[in-house]
Amino acid sequence: MRFSSFFLLAASGLTLASCSGDGAPSDTGPEADARRQVLAAFADDVVVPRLARFRGDAAALETAAQAWAAAPADATARGAAQAAFVDAMDTWQELEVLQVGPAGTTGDIEGGQGLRDEIYSWPTTNACRVDQETIEDAAATPDGLRSELVNVRGLDALERLLFVVDETTACPSSSPLILDGLWEAVAATPGDVTARRASYAASAATLVRERAEELEAAWTGGFRDELATAGAGSVVYRTSLDALNGVSDALFYLEGITVNVKIAEPAGLSGCETADTCPEARESLFADRSLANIQANYRGYVAGFRGGEGMGLDQLLRDVGASDLADRMDAAIVTADPVVEGLSGTLPALLEADPQGLDPAFNAIQDVVRLQRTELVSVFNLRLPQSVAADND
């Protein structure tokens, strides 16, 4: 073979080899099938049922909020709206840990449509902005509210509207709302602020219900199939491993948000240096549902890990020969269950009675997620959330 011919042949071979890496993968082996079983179970047994429940909860919340808007002075109507909010939030907090696909941020998450922030934008919550909207007429109708920022029209705004009973504002004295006397003018008429809040709550509840329907439709209308066919026809997920990575990324919410923020900060374990505890840093400031939210996050994680009735990550670990890890993760969950579910009352009350009252839950949940961060991602060769897809050698 002539020297030049050899080079041309070799170069062609190398080009073909590299091109094949960009072509359609053949994600068809037992590994891929097992992953797709996990993904299908994650969709069918974990996410979709919760989305259906949340859609129902959101509809009930809308109905209750509208009833309260019709009778703002009726404490019973308000109580019913609050109860409906609690039901909806309990379900949503389980879904917080399951943000795969449409709920995720557009551009950051495969299949993301940014619907999570439309429904619940914490921690960008801004109570003063909610108060500003309260005295503006736009918030009285869903259409008026629709174009506002997400942090004044989701569950976080609803929490303030439904649970703050007094007619004071969270805005500082330097805000235009106070300086221009706008709040004072409305608050001068007893009940007016409450009536406006009720009307605003009804509008926000309508938007939440619409987004809940949209999110469920996004899953049942296509995304469920994208997940279940990852690497085998899905246009969202090129491989089943990509989709599994999406699930793993979502579950890391329990570590990055629930443990490191929702527990550690109010418990004084992190980011709270001037006092023993910082209960004011809790998630749920108005409904005081912070502990319930933590519990719901944890339940969502466990469901996501175990896959409901179907095949979960624990079974996948066993199937690929990592039974020891599966056993230890199961054991860590069994240990954490009573600790987390045993949290009761409100977070401030818990810390008041025992400043270290949240430490056991912090440690127990960390024992679970640490196994995911160190060993589970190794076994499945997953990347960590938001990692830069940089080179490696």
Binding site: A10, G13, P30, D33, R373, T374, E375, S378, A390
Partner: protein
């Protein structure tokens, strides 16, 4: 003494023998083009911002804490400059200056943050520094063309030692990459190859094979033997063509299977330096032009002892420096002392979970500091398996607390790490106050021994029945 001097003169004469410049010109062109592509990738993937601008804290190499952190946007400009310099090198315009600037800027960018460390970036810097010593713009370049147009005589010819130096550098990478794989995990347990291959079963045609443990073992051994011997096979005329064919297959596979960036392309291009100097002329014929100085008589030059000794010391350092890990004992993949600049390419799967525990005068209990308070996700992932970086951040955490008025700050760490799928284990002694541990090159007693036992052995999941899919 006389024979030694004679031998030195003979070596010097051989090293200074003019060579056909074609392969060195091809090397220069390929280097410039690959430098351009590398810079362009940083810009198009947004790595300039995400890896350099986004972090509020940068990890420094030991002894290089003085390296200034560029203001936001400057790194983008640097990569634009590197891209432009790469094109100047490829075309051979103001070649020497462009090569020096390329070497300096590319190296500076690497020194900004340890978490961007990649072996092939180091190789690019070293090759660039070697090239600074060589008048590679003297032939096959716009510099030479301009010089000829101006009626000036051509610059002195390119010399044999330039080929030797580049061949040596490439061989150092391959051989050390092989030695790094001479571990029980790699050769006896097929890890981390097994973990990586099990995640690549979607690879067209051969993906199904990757689920078998035996394939991981075979490919592990093949990679080890390939790295260990390929410089030799490339050096021998009779084995050169099959060796380069194998090289194309090997690097083609690594390019397809792993997120290894420019490494396969750099090595594929760099390995051509082992060919006969005239290979581009044989490949492209008249496009390259006739050979000239190789046929000229050798002009005797006096040995420059200082230069020769300097190059010899540098070469010796290249051989010895990667071996320093053995002086620390233990498992370098765990303690990572001597890990960098040792060509330990793709030889571990390591994931860690880090949280700091901070205490100061008056604090009734330890407070946790999570790495994400200071680091990006990329930095955190890279730091989690590298004890010296965990130490650096501990120092920063302590300094940050002191700056905010806290006294007698103590920083400890819970560092749990899994190596090659093993059970996670503590990597750092949780009782040691890291704020008082100095960084350095000595053996780190605060790093706990590597966990024993074999790494994980994965298996194929059972086949799913057709109706269950």
């Amino acid at each position: 003494m006389e024979s030694e001097a004679t031998g030195m003169r003979a070596l010097w004469a051989r090293g200074h023998a003019p060579v056909d410049p074609a392969s060195l010109v091809a090397f220069r062109v390929a280097f410039g083009l690959l430098g351009m592509v590398s810079a362009e990738r940083f810009l198009s993937f947004g790595w300039d911002e995400r890896l350099f601008d986004a972090p509020s804290f940068h990890f420094r190499y030991y002894g290089f804490g003085w390296v200034p952190t560029p203001p936001d946007g400057v790194v983008t400009g640097l990569f634009v400059a590197i891209l432009a310099l790469g094109s100047l090198i490829a075309f051979g315009l103001v070649t020497r200056l462009a090569t020096v600037l390329f070497a300096v800027l590319f190296t500076y960018v690497q020194l900004i943050d340890v978490t961007t460390y990649l072996n092939h970036y180091v190789l690019v810097s070293l090759l660039a520094f070697w090239m600074c010593l060589m008048p590679l713009g003297a032939r096959g370049s716009l510099d030479a063309w301009i010089r000829a147009r101006r009626g000036r005589p051509p610059r002195p010819p390119l010399r044999a030692w330039m080929l030797w130096a580049l061949r040596f550098q490439v061989a150092v990478v391959y051989v050390n990459a092989a030695l790094a794989k001479a571990t029980g995990d790699w050769l006896l347990h097929g890890q981390p190859m097994g973990i990586w291959l099990a995640a690549r079963t979607d690879t067209p045609l051969v993906g199904d094979l990757f689920a078998h443990h035996e394939v991981a073992l075979v490919l592990g051994w093949a990679g080890f033997l390939y790295d260990l011997t390929i410089p030799l096979w490339l050096s021998l005329r009779r084995t050169r063509v099959p060796a380069y064919t194998l090289l194309l297959v090997f690097h083609g596979m690594t390019a397809v299977l792993f997120d290894i960036g420019m490494f396969p392309w750099i090595m594929t291009a760099a390995a051509t330096i082992f060919f006969e100097p005239a290979w581009p002329r044989r490949l492209l014929g008249r496009l390259v032009g006739p050979r000239d100085e190789a046929s000229r008589p050798i002009e005797p030059t006096r040995p420059r002892r200082g230069l020769a000794v300097t190059l010899a010391i540098f070469a010796l350092l290249q051989v010895l420096w990667p071996l320093r890990a053995h002086a620390y004992g233990g498992n370098v993949l765990w303690h990572e002392q001597g890990m960098r600049f040792s060509w330990r390419v793709l030889c571990r799967e390591k994931n860690g979970s880090i949280r700091y525990r901070v205490r100061w005068t008056g604090s009734e209990r330890e407070r946790y500091v999570f790495p994400q308070r200071y680091l990006t996700d990329h930095q955190e992932r890279e730091m989690a398996g590298q004890p010296d970086l965990v130490l650096q951040l501990a120092h920063h955490v302590a300094a940050d607390h002191r700056a905010r008025g806290y006294e007698d700050v103590e920083v400890r760490v819970d560092a749990w790490v899994s190596l090659n799928g093993r059970r996670m284990a503590r990597m750092i002694d949780p009782d040691v106050d890291l704020s008082r541990v100095p960084d350095g090159l000595g053996k780190a007693s605060w790093i706990l021994p590597a966990p024993g036992g074999a790494p994980i052995r994965l298996q194929r999941p059972p086949r799913v029945a057709e109706d269950e899919r």
